[in-house]
Protein backbone atom coordinates (compact mmCIF):
# COMPACT_ATOMS: atom_id res chain seq x y z
CA UNK A 1 0.00 0.00 0.00
CA UNK A 2 1.04 3.59 -0.62
CA UNK A 3 -0.76 5.01 2.37
CA UNK A 4 2.45 6.62 3.70
CA UNK A 5 3.09 8.58 0.51
CA UNK A 6 1.52 11.89 -0.43
CA UNK A 7 0.08 11.97 -3.97
CA UNK A 8 3.01 14.17 -5.09
CA UNK A 9 5.58 11.71 -3.70
CA UNK A 10 3.77 8.89 -5.44
CA UNK A 11 3.84 10.66 -8.80
CA UNK A 12 7.44 11.81 -8.57
CA UNK A 13 8.64 8.31 -7.72
CA UNK A 14 9.12 7.85 -11.48
CA UNK A 15 10.81 10.30 -13.87
CA UNK A 16 7.69 10.28 -16.06
CA UNK A 17 6.04 13.01 -14.00
CA UNK A 18 8.88 15.48 -14.63
CA UNK A 19 9.00 14.49 -18.31
CA UNK A 20 5.23 14.91 -18.69
CA UNK A 21 5.28 18.27 -16.92
CA UNK A 22 8.02 19.50 -19.27
CA UNK A 23 6.09 18.33 -22.34
CA UNK A 24 2.91 20.06 -21.17
CA UNK A 25 4.70 23.34 -20.44
CA UNK A 26 6.50 23.18 -23.80
CA UNK A 27 3.31 22.51 -25.77
CA UNK A 28 1.30 25.21 -23.99
CA UNK A 29 4.23 27.63 -24.29
CA UNK A 30 4.36 27.04 -28.05
CA UNK A 31 0.60 27.38 -28.43
CA UNK A 32 0.61 30.69 -26.49
CA UNK A 33 3.57 31.91 -28.56
CA UNK A 34 1.64 31.29 -31.80
CA UNK A 35 -1.46 32.85 -30.28
CA UNK A 36 0.46 36.04 -29.34
CA UNK A 37 1.66 36.28 -33.00
CA UNK A 38 5.25 35.23 -32.27
CA UNK A 39 6.62 38.26 -30.33
CA UNK A 40 10.43 38.45 -30.66
CA UNK A 41 10.78 39.83 -27.12
CA UNK A 42 8.99 36.83 -25.60
CA UNK A 43 10.33 33.63 -27.20
CA UNK A 44 8.37 30.39 -26.82
CA UNK A 45 11.10 28.93 -24.60
CA UNK A 46 10.73 31.76 -22.07
CA UNK A 47 6.93 31.34 -21.93
CA UNK A 48 7.37 27.59 -21.44
CA UNK A 49 10.05 28.05 -18.76
CA UNK A 50 7.87 30.54 -16.86
CA UNK A 51 4.91 28.14 -17.02
CA UNK A 52 7.07 25.26 -15.82
CA UNK A 53 8.57 27.28 -12.95
CA UNK A 54 5.07 28.42 -11.97
CA UNK A 55 3.77 24.84 -12.04
CA UNK A 56 6.68 23.56 -9.93
CA UNK A 57 6.19 26.15 -7.21
CA UNK A 58 2.41 25.75 -7.35
CA UNK A 59 2.48 22.01 -6.66
CA UNK A 60 5.45 22.41 -4.31
CA UNK A 61 7.85 20.16 -6.23
CA UNK A 62 11.46 21.06 -5.30
CA UNK A 63 13.63 21.88 -8.33
CA UNK A 64 16.27 19.19 -7.59
CA UNK A 65 13.55 16.49 -7.55
CA UNK A 66 12.18 17.78 -10.86
CA UNK A 67 15.66 17.98 -12.35
CA UNK A 68 16.42 14.38 -11.40
CA UNK A 69 13.41 13.17 -13.37
CA UNK A 70 13.96 15.54 -16.27
CA UNK A 71 17.43 14.00 -16.83
CA UNK A 72 15.53 11.56 -19.03
CA UNK A 73 15.02 14.45 -21.43
CA UNK A 74 18.29 16.32 -20.97
CA UNK A 75 20.33 13.22 -21.79
CA UNK A 76 19.04 13.65 -25.36
CA UNK A 77 20.88 16.99 -25.59
CA UNK A 78 24.04 15.03 -26.46
CA UNK A 79 22.69 13.32 -29.60
CA UNK A 80 20.71 16.49 -30.48
CA UNK A 81 23.93 18.52 -30.50
CA UNK A 82 25.56 15.85 -32.70
CA UNK A 83 22.50 16.06 -34.99
CA UNK A 84 23.35 19.73 -35.72
CA UNK A 85 26.21 18.32 -37.84
CA UNK A 86 23.62 17.50 -40.53
CA UNK A 87 22.40 21.08 -41.31
CA UNK A 88 26.01 22.17 -40.94
CA UNK A 89 27.02 19.74 -43.71
CA UNK A 90 24.05 20.72 -45.89
CA UNK A 91 25.07 24.40 -45.74
CA UNK A 92 28.80 23.70 -46.12
CA UNK A 93 29.06 25.27 -49.62
CA UNK A 94 27.51 28.51 -48.38
CA UNK A 95 29.73 28.49 -45.30
CA UNK A 96 32.89 27.91 -47.39
CA UNK A 97 31.84 30.89 -49.54
CA UNK A 98 32.02 33.13 -46.46
CA UNK A 99 34.84 31.42 -44.57
CA UNK A 100 37.21 34.37 -44.63
CA UNK A 101 34.92 37.05 -43.09
CA UNK A 102 33.57 34.47 -40.61
CA UNK A 103 37.07 33.43 -39.56
CA UNK A 104 38.08 37.06 -38.96
CA UNK A 105 34.84 37.98 -37.21
CA UNK A 106 34.63 35.01 -34.86
CA UNK A 107 37.63 35.58 -32.53
CA UNK A 108 36.89 39.30 -32.23
CA UNK A 109 33.15 38.94 -31.69
CA UNK A 110 33.43 35.96 -29.31
CA UNK A 111 36.03 37.79 -27.20
CA UNK A 112 33.88 40.94 -27.06
CA UNK A 113 30.76 38.90 -26.19
CA UNK A 114 32.47 37.94 -22.91
CA UNK A 115 34.40 41.20 -22.47
CA UNK A 116 31.50 43.71 -22.62
CA UNK A 117 29.46 41.95 -19.93
CA UNK A 118 32.52 41.39 -17.71
CA UNK A 119 33.60 45.03 -18.00
CA UNK A 120 30.12 46.34 -17.15
CA UNK A 121 29.70 43.95 -14.21
CA UNK A 122 33.18 44.85 -12.94
CA UNK A 123 32.46 48.59 -13.18
CA UNK A 124 29.24 48.03 -11.22
CA UNK A 125 31.28 46.35 -8.48
CA UNK A 126 30.43 42.66 -8.94
CA UNK A 127 32.49 40.09 -7.02
CA UNK A 128 35.06 37.78 -8.64
CA UNK A 129 32.68 34.84 -8.21
CA UNK A 130 29.96 36.64 -10.15
CA UNK A 131 32.41 37.63 -12.89
CA UNK A 132 33.55 33.99 -13.15
CA UNK A 133 29.92 32.85 -13.31
CA UNK A 134 28.82 35.12 -16.16
CA UNK A 135 32.01 35.02 -18.25
CA UNK A 136 30.75 32.13 -20.41
CA UNK A 137 27.31 33.72 -20.95
CA UNK A 138 27.40 33.39 -24.75
CA UNK A 139 28.59 29.76 -24.79
CA UNK A 140 26.35 26.73 -25.27
CA UNK A 141 25.45 25.13 -21.90
CA UNK A 142 27.46 21.84 -22.05
CA UNK A 143 30.68 23.79 -22.79
CA UNK A 144 29.85 26.78 -20.58
CA UNK A 145 29.39 24.60 -17.48
CA UNK A 146 32.91 23.22 -17.89
CA UNK A 147 34.40 26.68 -18.38
CA UNK A 148 32.59 28.09 -15.33
CA UNK A 149 33.76 25.27 -13.07
CA UNK A 150 37.31 25.87 -14.26
CA UNK A 151 37.07 29.61 -13.49
CA UNK A 152 35.57 28.97 -10.05
CA UNK A 153 32.11 30.40 -10.82
CA UNK A 154 28.65 29.23 -9.73
CA UNK A 155 26.95 26.95 -12.27
CA UNK A 156 23.41 27.90 -11.20
CA UNK A 157 24.15 31.58 -11.78
CA UNK A 158 25.74 30.71 -15.11
CA UNK A 159 22.55 28.96 -16.24
CA UNK A 160 20.60 32.09 -15.30
CA UNK A 161 23.02 34.22 -17.29
CA UNK A 162 22.64 31.83 -20.24
CA UNK A 163 18.84 32.18 -20.21
CA UNK A 164 18.91 35.98 -20.01
CA UNK A 165 21.59 36.21 -22.72
CA UNK A 166 19.84 33.77 -25.06
CA UNK A 167 16.46 35.44 -24.68
CA UNK A 168 17.80 39.00 -24.99
CA UNK A 169 19.89 38.10 -28.06
CA UNK A 170 16.80 37.45 -30.17
CA UNK A 171 15.28 40.99 -30.06
CA UNK A 172 18.81 42.51 -30.05
CA UNK A 173 19.64 40.78 -33.33
CA UNK A 174 16.42 41.88 -35.01
CA UNK A 175 16.86 45.50 -33.84
CA UNK A 176 20.56 45.64 -34.79
CA UNK A 177 19.90 44.02 -38.18
CA UNK A 178 17.26 46.64 -38.94
CA UNK A 179 19.55 49.51 -37.84
CA UNK A 180 22.45 48.22 -39.95
CA UNK A 181 20.21 47.33 -42.93
CA UNK A 182 21.21 43.67 -42.85
CA UNK A 183 18.72 41.14 -44.20
CA UNK A 184 21.13 38.36 -45.18
CA UNK A 185 19.77 35.47 -43.10
CA UNK A 186 23.21 33.82 -43.02
CA UNK A 187 24.65 36.78 -41.12
CA UNK A 188 21.61 37.03 -38.86
CA UNK A 189 21.90 33.31 -38.08
CA UNK A 190 25.61 33.54 -37.35
CA UNK A 191 25.05 36.46 -34.96
CA UNK A 192 22.21 34.55 -33.24
CA UNK A 193 24.37 31.47 -32.63
CA UNK A 194 27.50 33.39 -31.66
CA UNK A 195 25.76 35.57 -29.07
CA UNK A 196 22.72 33.53 -28.09
CA UNK A 197 24.03 29.90 -28.09
CA UNK A 198 21.29 27.20 -28.23
CA UNK A 199 18.39 29.61 -27.64
CA UNK A 200 19.58 31.81 -30.52
CA UNK A 201 20.10 28.71 -32.67
CA UNK A 202 16.56 27.51 -32.02
CA UNK A 203 15.32 30.95 -33.12
CA UNK A 204 17.54 30.84 -36.24
CA UNK A 205 15.99 27.52 -37.32
CA UNK A 206 12.58 29.26 -37.15
CA UNK A 207 13.88 31.81 -39.69
CA UNK A 208 15.29 29.27 -42.19
CA UNK A 209 17.47 26.15 -42.39
CA UNK A 210 20.34 28.29 -43.71
CA UNK A 211 20.10 30.69 -40.75
CA UNK A 212 19.98 27.65 -38.45
CA UNK A 213 23.11 26.12 -39.96
CA UNK A 214 25.04 29.39 -39.65
CA UNK A 215 23.80 29.67 -36.07
CA UNK A 216 25.04 26.12 -35.26
CA UNK A 217 28.38 27.09 -36.78
CA UNK A 218 28.55 30.32 -34.77
CA UNK A 219 27.50 28.50 -31.61
CA UNK A 220 30.02 25.66 -31.87
CA UNK A 221 32.95 27.86 -32.93
CA UNK A 222 32.23 30.35 -30.12
CA UNK A 223 32.08 27.43 -27.67
CA UNK A 224 35.41 26.00 -28.83
CA UNK A 225 37.13 29.39 -29.00
CA UNK A 226 35.88 30.55 -25.58
CA UNK A 227 36.69 27.21 -23.92
CA UNK A 228 40.30 27.50 -25.04
CA UNK A 229 40.81 31.22 -24.51
CA UNK A 230 38.82 32.23 -21.43
CA UNK A 231 40.62 30.07 -18.81
CA UNK A 232 43.91 31.28 -20.28
CA UNK A 233 42.88 34.94 -20.13
CA UNK A 234 41.65 34.40 -16.56
CA UNK A 235 45.07 33.15 -15.48
CA UNK A 236 46.87 36.00 -17.26
CA UNK A 237 44.64 38.55 -15.55
CA UNK A 238 45.48 36.93 -12.21
CA UNK A 239 41.85 36.23 -11.35
CA UNK A 240 41.08 33.63 -8.71
CA UNK A 241 40.47 30.22 -10.27
CA UNK A 242 38.94 26.96 -9.20
CA UNK A 243 42.36 25.33 -9.38
CA UNK A 244 44.18 27.96 -7.33
Amino acid sequence: MNADLSPLELLTATPLFAVGLTLVAYLIGNRLFQHLKRPSWLPAILIAALLLAGALSLIGLPYPTYQEGAIWLTVLLGPATVALGMPLYQQLPRIVELWRPLAICLPIAATLAAFYALAIAWLLGSSDTILASIAAKSVTAPIAIGITEQLGGKVSLLLGALLVTGVITIPCVSIAARLLHINDERLIGFALGLNGHAIGTVRAFEISPAAGAFASLGMSLTGIFTAVLLPLAWRLLGMSSGYA
Partner: protein, 117 residues
Protein backbone atom coordinates in the same frame (compact mmCIF):
# COMPACT_ATOMS: atom_id res chain seq x y z
CA UNK B 1 13.53 1.54 -38.16
CA UNK B 2 15.67 4.00 -40.19
CA UNK B 3 15.17 6.60 -37.44
CA UNK B 4 16.40 4.09 -34.88
CA UNK B 5 19.60 3.29 -36.73
CA UNK B 6 20.13 6.99 -37.37
CA UNK B 7 19.73 7.61 -33.64
CA UNK B 8 22.33 4.93 -32.97
CA UNK B 9 24.72 6.80 -35.29
CA UNK B 10 24.14 10.05 -33.37
CA UNK B 11 24.77 8.30 -30.05
CA UNK B 12 27.91 6.66 -31.48
CA UNK B 13 29.31 10.04 -32.58
CA UNK B 14 28.59 11.46 -29.14
CA UNK B 15 30.42 8.51 -27.54
CA UNK B 16 33.35 8.98 -29.94
CA UNK B 17 33.39 12.61 -28.78
CA UNK B 18 33.68 11.41 -25.17
CA UNK B 19 36.63 9.17 -26.06
CA UNK B 20 38.35 11.95 -28.02
CA UNK B 21 38.01 14.30 -25.02
CA UNK B 22 39.29 11.62 -22.64
CA UNK B 23 42.46 11.12 -24.65
CA UNK B 24 43.14 14.71 -25.74
CA UNK B 25 41.88 16.65 -22.72
CA UNK B 26 40.22 19.17 -25.08
CA UNK B 27 38.11 21.65 -23.07
CA UNK B 28 35.04 21.16 -25.32
CA UNK B 29 31.85 19.10 -24.99
CA UNK B 30 31.46 15.68 -26.59
CA UNK B 31 28.35 16.90 -28.41
CA UNK B 32 30.33 19.56 -30.26
CA UNK B 33 33.12 17.10 -31.18
CA UNK B 34 30.45 14.67 -32.37
CA UNK B 35 28.78 17.42 -34.43
CA UNK B 36 32.02 18.35 -36.17
CA UNK B 37 32.90 14.67 -36.79
CA UNK B 38 29.42 13.98 -38.18
CA UNK B 39 29.70 16.99 -40.48
CA UNK B 40 33.15 15.82 -41.66
CA UNK B 41 31.88 12.25 -42.24
CA UNK B 42 28.91 13.50 -44.27
CA UNK B 43 31.24 15.70 -46.32
CA UNK B 44 33.42 12.66 -47.12
CA UNK B 45 30.38 10.49 -47.85
CA UNK B 46 28.89 13.19 -50.06
CA UNK B 47 25.23 12.99 -48.97
CA UNK B 48 23.02 12.57 -45.90
CA UNK B 49 21.84 8.95 -45.41
CA UNK B 50 18.06 8.84 -44.90
CA UNK B 51 18.49 7.13 -41.52
CA UNK B 52 20.53 10.05 -40.15
CA UNK B 53 18.04 12.58 -41.53
CA UNK B 54 15.14 10.65 -39.97
CA UNK B 55 16.76 10.85 -36.53
CA UNK B 56 18.41 14.28 -36.74
CA UNK B 57 15.43 16.30 -37.99
CA UNK B 58 13.02 15.57 -35.11
CA UNK B 59 15.81 15.93 -32.54
CA UNK B 60 16.78 19.38 -33.84
CA UNK B 61 13.12 20.39 -33.76
CA UNK B 62 13.01 19.37 -30.09
CA UNK B 63 16.17 21.25 -29.08
CA UNK B 64 14.19 23.99 -27.32
CA UNK B 65 12.38 21.45 -25.16
CA UNK B 66 15.58 19.62 -24.25
CA UNK B 67 17.20 22.75 -22.78
CA UNK B 68 14.09 23.68 -20.77
CA UNK B 69 14.84 21.67 -17.60
CA UNK B 70 18.17 23.50 -17.24
CA UNK B 71 16.66 26.86 -18.07
CA UNK B 72 13.93 26.66 -15.38
CA UNK B 73 16.62 26.33 -12.72
CA UNK B 74 17.18 30.09 -12.97
CA UNK B 75 13.93 30.90 -11.26
CA UNK B 76 15.04 28.92 -8.21
CA UNK B 77 18.30 30.81 -7.57
CA UNK B 78 16.83 34.31 -7.65
CA UNK B 79 16.78 34.48 -3.84
CA UNK B 80 20.45 33.49 -3.55
CA UNK B 81 21.77 36.68 -5.10
CA UNK B 82 19.58 39.37 -3.62
CA UNK B 83 21.11 42.81 -4.18
CA UNK B 84 23.42 41.62 -6.98
CA UNK B 85 20.79 41.10 -9.63
CA UNK B 86 20.63 44.66 -10.95
CA UNK B 87 24.34 44.73 -11.76
CA UNK B 88 24.21 41.24 -13.30
CA UNK B 89 21.14 42.04 -15.41
CA UNK B 90 22.54 45.35 -16.65
CA UNK B 91 25.82 43.63 -17.55
CA UNK B 92 24.04 40.84 -19.44
CA UNK B 93 21.50 42.99 -21.27
CA UNK B 94 23.76 45.90 -22.22
CA UNK B 95 26.71 43.56 -22.85
CA UNK B 96 24.64 41.38 -25.19
CA UNK B 97 23.24 44.39 -27.07
CA UNK B 98 26.77 45.76 -27.60
CA UNK B 99 28.18 42.42 -28.69
CA UNK B 100 25.31 41.73 -31.12
CA UNK B 101 25.79 45.16 -32.72
CA UNK B 102 29.56 44.58 -32.95
CA UNK B 103 29.11 41.13 -34.52
CA UNK B 104 26.68 42.30 -37.18
CA UNK B 105 28.60 45.52 -37.93
CA UNK B 106 31.85 43.54 -38.26
CA UNK B 107 30.24 40.93 -40.54
CA UNK B 108 28.71 43.62 -42.72
CA UNK B 109 32.04 45.43 -43.10
CA UNK B 110 34.02 42.24 -43.75
CA UNK B 111 31.55 40.88 -46.26
CA UNK B 112 31.19 44.25 -47.98
CA UNK B 113 34.97 44.18 -48.46
CA UNK B 114 35.05 40.65 -49.81
CA UNK B 115 32.36 41.55 -52.36
CA UNK B 116 34.40 44.54 -53.53
CA UNK B 117 37.45 42.42 -54.35
Amino acid sequence: MPALSGFLWLISYWLIGEVVIYFTGLPVSSGVIGMLLLCATLALYGRVPSSIAAAAQPLIALLAMLIMPGVVGVFFIIGELAGQWTAILIALVVGTLLSVVTTLWLLKRLIGQSYER
